[in-house]
Symmetry: D2
Subunit: 383 residues, 4 copies
């Protein structure tokens, strides 16, 4: 397959997630970064391009879209990777889709559910591909977990416990860091910090593995140090299928690094997966010893998890991220060849909308004295 050409919006010097996206795109040698509008400051963008050995650096994303569109079809970028702070996601995604480019966007997709609904309509009209980097769905054992549920190995799901605990915002001084500053600023991050940054990953992971939808929830969010946005919260969940659940997210859990963990309890069996030890999936049974499925083994491969190394050679976060990039590149390649893009499990516009619906409902629920709040289902605006 011919390499897929990528442009990048954001990801300038010091941007953590931009570098991660680039490594993920590099890993399999199927994607070539050809250009970027890496920063709102033209000199910073140029500096980044130079550092990366690129000769197409742009001063703004608008300029990038315009000039790339004017290049010959076999030279211009095919998709954009959007890795800016949240508040730019919507306008950039919109502009890129309307200019005819595919979009791979960091989450959350937009600042509001209304924007997400608009974006869904735009994307459908555009015929272009859209994907959201819910990284954790790229882990092989998450894919295996989803497949186990889909095959009925767990029976009907009764309870889901998902948590995502970090500690990096515990201290009142955290705000002075670049990563924290925009996440705690309503103008740039939207209505939520913790739930929009990581709670939504946890919710997505639960829905992804169970192929189910959070239907109602009740929430209690909190903010330390007089912050304007939440940095911690707990949520009670009721799924469309009837399953119950619980979600806890925190950015002030001192000593936690990136502790995303999910347990799914079914009528026949249960599973347990932790992002910090991602190559193992614990499978618990009613009447026999628990098993641990390990990535890259035949048992795991049979469940569909992609790996690049043999058993016992651990993969991690970058490989999970690279799996999303690989799946997206394959989607792009299929479209090039005018094949129907079949549904690989990459989170798309529906996950984008659902994510925003989750965030808005959680924030509203937390402020309410009413117990249960319905998560609106797929309210795509056909504007």
């Amino acid at each position: 397959m011919q390499k897929v050409r990528m442009g990048m919006m954001g990801g300038g010097p010091d941007a953590f997630i931009g570098a991660v996206h680039r490594m993920a795109a590099n890993l399999d040698g199927k994607i070539e970064l050809v250009c970027g509008a890496f920063s709102s400051r033209p000199d910073a963008s140029q500096q980044m391009a130079q550092q990366l050995g690129l000769n197409r650096s742009y001063d703004s994303y608008q300029q990038m879209l315009e000039q790339e569109a004017s290049l010959p079809a076999d030279q211009r970028m095919e998709f954009v990777s959007i890795v800016t702070p949240n508040y730019l996601h919507f306008e950039m995604s919109k502009a890129a889709l309307e200019a005819g480019f595919h979009v791979l966007c960091d989450k959350p997709a937009t600042l509001t559910l209304d924007e997400a609904s608009q974006l869904a309509a735009i994307q459908k009209r555009s015929g272009r591909l859209y994907a959201l980097t819910h990284t954790y769905t790229g882990y092989p054992m998450v894919v295996a977990a989803r497949e186990l549920v889909a095959r009925g190995e767990l029976g009907r799901i009764r309870k889901v416990v998902v948590e995502y605990h970090q500690g990096w915002l515990a201290d009142s001084g955290a705000e002075s860091g670049k990563q924290a500053a925009w996440r705690l600023d309503p103008a740039r991050a939207g209505i939520s910090c913790c739930m929009a940054d990581i709670g939504v990953h946890a919710a997505n992971l639960a829905e992804f593995i169970c192929n189910d939808a959070i239907d109602q929830l009740s929430a209690d969010l909190s903010a330390s140090h007089g912050r304007l946005l939440d940095d911690d919260g707990v949520v009670m969940l009721r799924f469309a299928s009837g399953a119950r659940g619980m979600l806890s997210a925190s950015q002030i859990a001192v000593g936690e690094e990136n502790n995303l963990r999910i347990r799914v309890y079914g009528e026949k069996a249960s599973l347990d997966w932790s992002q910090e030890e991602p190559n193992s999936l614990k499978l618990m049974h009613a009447d026999k010893p628990f098993e641990v499925l390990r990535s890259a083994t035949p048992a795991a491969a049979e469940l569909g998890g992609i790996t690049r190394t043999p058993p016992g050679h651990p993969e991690g976060y970058l490989e999970a991220f690279a799996n999303l990039y690989r799946q997206f590149a394959e989607q792009v390649d299929r479209q090039r060849q005018q094949q129907t893009t079949d549904s690989n499990p990459l989170p798309g516009i529906d996950a984008a909308v659902r994510g925003m619906a989750f965030i808005e409902t959680v924030v509203a629920a937390s402020a309410s004295t009413q117990k249960w709040h319905k998560v609106p289902a797929q309210p795509v605006k056909e504007s």
Copy 2:
């Protein structure tokens, strides 16, 4: 110290928890079982006594109280251990205290909060000792955790996540077992199964370690297989101190054995303890590697945890249980010597009342459309 003489109510043949209480009482050689009303069936009681090499077997607890009271002071039992199904706890505790005996009772203390309040008043009038076997507070690393919080090592507590997951009631056939039958029967178990049996342990553990009180809660309980009582539930917690939290309890979590785990997140440090690996306590810091305190080490001993073996020789559930018996025996011995019984951390009548308050509030909250419900504080009835 002269051995303390114990009588037992319940704990006949086939009773799991009765045997556990006896081993716990045996372990340190400080308590002597002298008599019992082991069963409502006189022959079964006698059979048990014989099996245990006892010659004082009674046909009923009333008979035991009456006849023991008539024995010389240096022969009669000094305390009763109550290990029957829940519905008998109140009347037995009441009768024993009123007959002048100390009481060590399995939890929950009573069937209702009202009964617990009455019992508190009775106990205060009686001048007799009362303790509740919240076994998990007997673990050395739980005592160490409480001490770390008390010393301010964690700073102000922000979040508590406690869970107690079992799987033994997952199957619809579970009811046919003796242990399950009474727990799922409202007449013998009260208004709750899961929350009364294990949720209350989780709540007690959180309050014990943090020396804090659950002030408000919101709950969602469920029951499988058309059961009359809950077998699973999640609860959002707000503590009197301002800390937030969540509690999850389940008896239908397939594959889980006895997975009680608590995490306490403070402003300066956090801790993590699991009952199934009880000899380790993880202590997480903001700015240095996490540490694992191990029971029986000097660092743990300095925090007050009792152990009987050197480091690396694991202790378990029976030793934790035995710690409660030992503490109770020491309380009895101090009272014998007319010393003021100082406050060792053994859960007493206050924990009994709080436990019932928790259970009633959780059940009410689950049935309500209102989000928050206040847990009544110490409503002792001075009847």
Copy 3:
């Protein structure tokens, strides 16, 4: 069953292992401690007896054997538990057996292989029971491991890796402690410290689980701080069956507590067990996910492991120890009833002899320039 009456030799104030033996004997309520010669100092022995509520305290073990033998059969002790430093094991065991008492002895059985051989002959003549407290064979999952091997679940065994690492003698100041002082003194401990104290447990565990015998070995022992006896060593093993293996033991492994671990690799499956997390047994397969057998589950019970608690209620070292006491009490009871004492897996005189053969061979091998040294098989002296 009527309680079995026990006398104790050693186990005075401050003796760690004596207290452990007493708790182990207490736990199940099947054994009654009736007398003791707890110390070579009569006042200390008396003090201990008082503390334990006993009225038969003796000034010497000789006195105890004589006077107990003169008591009526239904009052005198039935067996002695020997818990002194190593150098007294032989003479006490010999005297007790010859006086007609059963013997339960702490390991190692004697100071030399020659003594062990003599003891074996004495025991056979005496018709009395003899057992050695290789505590670790009392763990339920060790029993289960042995059974799995016996059933052929692992196929032919190819490799055994066993290690026993402690750190308590790492510091040069360790000698000042009472426990260390005699273990490092050739007069009281014999020709080895580390191998005699813990290496022999590791060797016994390997032989017990595999039902195999170490046939040849090569060793490299070392001593820190100019000590006269080894405090660390590694050993290459060849078993009678053809399996190979490796043993490492250390008392100077800083930070290790009591880390005894064994892995057994067979042609079809492998197992992994650690004493510090004794309730789990990892079972690895060639072509499917690994499993973890947990003690007290039906799967473990079916393999013969004794437990006192339900799944997830951890047992530990004292329970393993108590299992040995229970098995010994059952052997005594069967002999009382003139039943043939069938072979429960309790290590007896053969394990005692093999242990001494291992220790002597390891010490000789370490001093030799020759690579392989044969472990003499069962050289029982029929003197």
Copy 4:
């Protein structure tokens, strides 16, 4: 920095390790693969080049060296990556160095110690860079471990226990696989399978972390299924510093994946690291709780481990491999700029020679009845 241009020898279709090398080279975007002689079959080589989007494919490595040397300096490859079966490593490395190219070679460096010595002389004469992909030294926590030892945090090292257990050759049918076939064939693999393939990694890891040299050893290797080369072995170690140790390696340990683990016990502290959970490093102390250093945390960064992600976002085998490629690219870049290449910890020609010395000594020792065998130190042939 301008990208460094790489050519590859070996790594055709189906070659596992070639693909790993390419991903490792890709990850950081600092290296560009420009050409390859991917297979001894020209069509397979060309097919691979096409698949990788390269237009410089060669029919043989000799052709590649010749033609690349004739290209302009700013176009020709700067180094070769050698990823063939063992028997080609020596001739390819020799030819490449002599043709003026830097060499990055998969281990082992050669088939014999004699060849390794020759290669060392050739490399020194050539002035070209040489590195050996002892992948495991690329893990951040291995680098941190080495640094802790170097700083004296562990005190003098007393004991090293290193093991590398795999199970993939357990079955007699394993030989039919491509990976196994050449490793078990003396003509292509040399005098050892298990020790040359993985034992040497374990030995290198021990020497790397301790900055010490294995001075003497005693070994017991074995082969299953009538194989001509070892598939399992144990080794007793004595280091130049006086430390003792043991090494166990196996390819027939059923159920093991890639279980490389090392423990280093010092006078003051000890450490424990496992390749399958590579982001944690356990640090054990005599008198305080053990700590776990986690990669990507400030504490780990301060010890020199390179990471690409924030704490809790796991890295794995490919990232460790990429660290070696990055270090090599940096060495190449410094040489370009005529700077002295300072010693980053990348294993070079000395590690190559020592590795071969280890393999030859282990094989000789296993066949000997003499206990100890000296590992020859750096016998570089100045031919």
